[in-house]
Symmetry: C2
Subunit: 183 residues, 2 copies
């Protein structure tokens, strides 16, 4: 009883919801609001938490299929005078790629918020000195998107020269994991 009506209402609601999500996505992209500020403004992650004033606070922006960020290293992020530390390079690439994965999974699932993803692994290659004192450009792209995980390839470049690359695997956590619904 009322099954057909219920299905119809659900379809309409679903359509409105999907449309609203699509518009929200277009709106926040048009407003150029970072993924972190859209979906996790109270997050205190060392790499990407907007609310961690001792963290790196990277901001990742959608640009077509890619996700980009800019980052200005501070003097205490050095490996030595003039050169950025490899651990900080890894932290930037890890968090930026994680958000790229979360956003790709959200789109693939046609959901309105990204799932909470954690890093399974990341492999950083340091190709050249990444300098201090100049803004770094990060660019990431999902290369494989499965149901609950994504592979992301990312790079850091300075004045057009790629200084570091990263390939990471990121997993959407399930209920019960401590990271579930942390955003």
């Amino acid at each position: 009883m009322f099954t057909r009506e219920y299905s119809l209402i659900r379809a309409i609601a679903g359509g409105i919801g999907a449309g609203a999500r699509r518009w929200y996505d277009l709106f926040t992209n048009a407003m150029d609001i970072s993924l972190q500020d859209r979906y996790a403004p109270r997050n205190r992650c060392f790499g990407c938490g907007p609310a961690n004033d001792q963290g790196l606070r990277i901001k990742s922006y959608v640009r077509g299929d890619d996700v980009v960020a800019e980052f200005m290293p501070e003097p205490h992020h050095q490996a030595f005078e003039g050169m950025l530390n490899g651990g900080i390079i890894g932290a930037l690439l890890d968090c930026h790629s994680n958000w790229t994965a979360a956003y790709a999974l959200m789109k693939a699932r046609v959901e309105s918020t990204p799932p909470c993803t954690v890093t399974a692994e990341f492999h950083v290659k340091l190709l050249a000195v990444t300098p201090l004192g100049t803004a770094l450009s990060l660019r990431a792209r999902p290369t494989e998107v499965r149901n609950s995980s994504a592979v992301v390839e990312a790079e850091i470049s300075v004045d057009g020269k790629v200084t570091a690359t990263c390939r990471g695997v990121f997993v959407a956590v399930k209920e019960g994991h401590p990271a579930y619904h942390r955003w």
Copy 2:
């Protein structure tokens, strides 16, 4: 002329030098002075510089063939409440492994100071949640030592449980590289 005498003097001096180095190494090991404090006390690297008061300041100690460290994460190193950020995990493993490589190269070359090494690549696998609020144990071991590079495998464990592993390649830089003689 004097070739034989010069060779003899050089051999004696070399023997004394090697002996002194061996004694210095035994002494500093016996005193349990970290590699960073022995060889680079003024280093300001984010991960391992004793002189960077905003850095992680890890201290790596020789234990037979292994190099170990303990690290107590701070609240701002979180990924989220109770869980350590993957980027910080990578930074710890990268710097600790780098010192393991530098020490292994020094021993292999029978030199008195470690060469300045930089990271070529590192591959971190996060196997389980690395918690906050408890000391982490790091352990690293060189698995390949060549003339100017070393491969190091490392892990982080908490209460005996391995939560993260890393395989890294580290290269002794040559004259002209900005990292040459930075320690």
